[in-house]
Structures are given as structure tokens and as C-alpha cells.
Amino acid sequence: MQKILIVDDDPLIRLLLEEILTDFNAKGIQISTADNGLTALELIKREEPDIIFLDVMLPQMDGFEVCSIIKNDLSLKHLYIIMLTAKGQEIDKKKAHEYGADYYITKPFTIQDVIRKVSEVLGASSQ
């Protein structure tokens, strides 16, 4: 079973992403959420979700740190990380790349952005 994890401290953003991904949920893909870095890390280690939406600004441990921990862990390395941030600036894109994130989505994003990317990743991994 494929899994998606949404990590954001803003409940509305979590809700929005869940709403966007309802179609996938209906198809049997499990969607879970976390509102801080540490819980997220635990969940990731336990569940090994296929896709992780990871906000940059998070309480307890920021997104970049979570990202680098995962990407430095051989057993978790393959997980697809999409960084979400409000700072749509070059420096954050660069940083995301440096920490090993797979993709980068700037807030505000469109439904299409998210759906396209998720189907792309899930389609590729299910094949």
C-alpha cells in the first residue's frame, strides 16, 4: 500500500493538501499528517511513506533538518521528499537541493501542481 505523509504546522495547509489528495485516498492510498518535525521523523521511520510533503518552517525540527536526516539514512534515502515553503526564493530552492530534497513547491501552489507531481511519483514507483 502506498502512503503519503503531509508535514506542516498549519492545520489549514494540512487540510488543503488532504482535500487535494482525496482522490488518491479514495484509490486506497494512505494519507497521514504530522504537525512538527520530530513526530514527522518518527512517522517516517515507522511508516516509510512514498511521498513526504515537508514544510520548511516547523516547530521542534525544521524541514531542512528532517530532510537531511532522511537523505543521510540509507534505508530511508529512497523516499520522495517535496519541500513546501512560503519563501519562494532562489536561496531556499538551492538549500532544498543541497539537503537532498527531490522536489520543491512554493506556496501558494495550485491543485494541478500537486496532483501532477503526486501521480507522476506514484505512477513511477508503482510500475
Binding site: 489549514l12 495547509i13 501558494p108
Partner: protein, 631 residues
Amino acid sequence: MSKLFKRTLIIMIVLFAIIAMTTAVSTGWNLYNDLIAEYKSKGSAIARSIASSSVETLLNREPSTVQAMIDQFTEILGVSYVFVVDNQGEIISHTFVPMIPREIIQIKNSTLDTSRDVSIEGKGEFIDISFPIVEGTVGVVHVGMDKGIIFSQLRAGMFRQLSLLTIIFIISVVFAYMFVNKISQPLNKLTDYSRKLASHDFTATVDIKSQDEIGMLAETMKSMAMDLSEVFERYELALKDAIVELQDTLAYLTAVIDNMADGLLVTDTDGIINHVNPALSLMFHMREADMIGKNCRDIFGIELFELVEKSRKHPDEAFTTGIKLAGGKFGQAVATGIHKDSLEAEDVHEKGIGSVILIRDITAEKEIDQMKTDFISTVSHELRTPLTSVLGFTEIIEKRLEENIFPLLKPMDQGVIATIKRIRNNIKIILSEGERLTALINDVLDISKLEAGKVEWKMERIQVQDLIEHARFATSSLFEQKKLEFRQYMEPGLPEIIGDRGRLIQVLINLFSNAVKFTEQGHILCQATKSDNEVVVSIADTGFGIMEGDLSSVFEKFKQAGDTLTDKPRGTGLGLPICRQIIEYHGGKIWAESQPEKGSIFSFSLPVLSALPPTKGKAGFLHYEESEIQL
């Protein structure tokens, strides 16, 4: 005794000695001659009388009578001996005791009536005077006059004369001394007085009241001294005034410098620190004494030293640099060369005598700047999150309506169809305005960073052609939407430029999207040409154009030309200001030409490689490469 008198006295003594010697010698000589003559005549008189009286006795050959006669003559002063020689040449009688000396026997035969000098051993010098008796037929009388008596008489005479002269001399010396002293005493006083005057002792006086030249001299000197002391006093006063004035001015200047809020640093042309003010000491937490005389390179670092160098080389310009102050504060240093106008050196470099550097604590300004940038970045971040929800949920609503609700509403009446249409339209407006808000947030953040100099520039060699291609690719969907033709003209052999590729593409995208946005039909022409030391890129459209009055303000922030109420496409009003910031950073210019209803041409120029201002451009690049951007 004055020197003058001493000298005169010595001269007098010498002169007197010469005179005394010559007179003594001449009188002595005269006296001697006189005495000799006197003795000779005396001697010859005696001899004659003996001769005349002794004729008979000689003829009678009575030597005892002769003896008795000559014996009595020896009593006469000066006569020392008498002897008679007969015609046979025999001494018949004499007065010699005990015997006739040898020297007499040698002269006994001289018969002539003459005199001669005889020196008899053990007896002394004598003048021998002979007189013939009866023409020499009977014999000769010899009388010996004692020369010793002449000498003693001569000595006594001379002694008398010399003593007299000496007495006269001493008396005259005493008189001369008294006289000279009388003259030289006031002279001495005058000398003393003039010596005191020379050492500026104007309180000294001299009391000479005589009416002669010396008195007059004293009077003149006194009045001269009075004049001098007056002049001196006046000059001293003037000098004091000048000094006080100078000190006042200096104190005023020092007070001004010392009370300046900005730090002041003065160096010579080698960068050696000559002067600092308390504000500077405070800024760097350093004592004045630890800075004076040192090279500013050692104390404030290479940046400041380079500033001094620059201001020395270009004395008419001011140069600035940032500098770290003590306590984590930040300052800005402005340096200008100091040069004296009066120095007549043809070479500008020679004229300079140093540099003056003003350092201002700009920590507060920097902090405010930082706060402003931070604030904008926070605000834009905080705005983005709710905006994401607004846009996202609107999209979801749209999607749900389209997928789940609207299909259920059939068969529907006209009213429902109209309502659905309006709902779709309303949702579109929410979405497009939401997107515009996103663009606005991005642009505000962008321009505030550009204006604050917080942008990281990546300067590299670029082909203009390459930039245009990228921008064209990024905006191709816009062209397709509006069905506008894109034309391009590239002048052959365009030189390379130096710039930030991403930022220059951003400019072109902005201009392309504006051109598309404000053009309904026709084409858009992009041209790249070279002129002088620049490459000029222009984007011409066949759109609405811009009214003459608005043309100048389109590069200002939030200025959107024309009537904002018309259904003209709306933007952020920040695109062109961002373009201008970027182009101007590259040392270029951006401008617009337009004819309402015909179209507009937006152009910008970029300096080509060789024409880049080396110092300014390079420094700028360096500066931005080094600084970490904080957003």
C-alpha cells in the same frame, strides 16, 4: 681701567722709552765729546805751562827740580801722570809710582803736539797729551788725563738726565691716567648701558650729564632706548593679542572637532595617523595615544588604507567604505584628500598633504534597514500561508462544483445556467486576484531586496542571444494564448556582456509579458544592436501604447499607466521598477518610447565587456559576492 687706556699707556711707555733712549744717547755723546775736548785743552794747557817753565831746568839738567814741578801738577783734578822726555828720548822725570809702565815707554818718543789714547794695564784709560819743549829741541812733556773721571762724570750726567725724564714720565702717566679715566668712565658707563639695552633691559639708565660728545651720545641712546622700549611694548602687546586670537580660533576648531558626533581621522599621504577626535576613540575603543603616529593600515585594516590611497590619487572625489566598529557596531567611512591651494605644484599627486576620513556609526540605519527587509520578508511569508489556503480551497471548491455539483443541476432553467456562469466568473476573479496578490508579494520582496542591496549577484559572461531565447521560451505560452507573432532581429557580431543571467532573463520576461499583456493584435519585435560600448535590446509591440504623461512614471513603483478602471489587464506595478533596478546595477539604462494606440518600445542598454567601469563595477561584484544574503 679701560682697554683703550691700557693701550694708550703702553704706546706712551714705548714712545717715551724710545725718546728717552735717543735723547740719552745723544746727550751722552755730546757730553763725552765736550769732556774729552775739555780734558784735552786742560791737558795741553798744563803741558804747555810745564814746557815753558821747564826749559831752563831741562837745559840745566836738573831733574829733581823738574820732578818737583811736575809732582805738583798731579794735584790738579783729572791729571793722572806727567813725564818729561829729553831730546835724547830719555824720560828724565815722571810721576809714575813705582815704575814707568810699558805702554808709556812705547809712546815716549812721539814728539808732536798731539793727543792719543793710552790704556795702561792695571791703571785704566788715559788721554796722553804731549807738548814739545822749545820746538822739541829740548824734550817733550807728556800729560796723562784720566779717562775714568770722564766716564764717571758722564755716568752721573746721564743718570741725572734719565731720572729727571723718568720722574716727568711718571707724573705725566699719572696725569694721563686721570685724564683718560675721566674720559673713559662715561664711555664705560655707556658701554654697560648699551649692553643692557641689547639684552632688552629697558629699565636701565645711565647718568652722564656732560655737555660734550659723550653726553650727547648718552642722551641720544636714552631717547633711542625709550623709542625701542615703546616699539617693543607695542609689538609685545600685538603679539599677545595675535596669540590669544590664534589660541581662541584653535580652541574653537578643536572644540568643534572634539564635539563632532562622527569620528574624525586625519592621515598624511603615507597613511600615518596625525589626528583623531574623541568620537573616533570611542567608536573603536582605542586611546588616542595608541593611534597617533601609527599607520592606519595596522590599526583600521586594509579597507581604510585603500580608501586613503584612493583619496590621495583622486583628491577631488570622496570615497566611502563600510568599516567594523568596536562592540559589533558598523560604520561608514568617507575619505577625501587634503590639499593646500597655496602649494604651486603642477602635479595633483604632489599637492596632497593627506586625507581626512569621517566615520559615522550607521549601526542604527543598518538595523532599521535590516528590520525593514526582515519585516517585508516576514509579512510576505505570513501573507503567503493564508493565500495558499484561499487559493487552494477556492480551487477545490471550483473543482467540486465542476465535478460534483454542476453536473447534478440538469435539466436546468435559464436562471440556474446564469447563476452557474456567474459563480464560475466569480471564482475566476478570486483565483486571478489571488495570483496577482502572489505576484505582488513576490515583487515587493524582490524590489525591497534589490533596493536594500541584499541580492546575491552571479556575474558571468553572457551572450545576449542566449538571454532572449530563454525569455522567449519562458513566455511562449503567453504568446500562444494571445496569438501574437514574435519577431526577432539580431545584429551580427554582438559582443558579450557581463551580468547575472537569471536576473537579466527576469528583465526580458517582464518586458515580454508586458508587451503581450498590453497588445491585442499584431506582433512583438525584439531587436538587439550594438552602439559604441553598449548592447541595446529593445522590445517593440503594436499594443495600446502609453499616454505621453504616463511615460515618465512607468518605471516608478506601483505606477500603472492609464485608467485602472478599464478592463485593461492589471499587474502589480512593480515589474518595470524591478527591471530598472537590475539594469542599473549592471551599469546600463532602461527607457520607454510609445505612441498611444500604435505601440510601445521598451529598451535597455548594457555595457559590453571592455567598456565596464573597472573600479566601480568590480568593487560592486566583489561586495555582493562576499556578502551573505539574509533572506
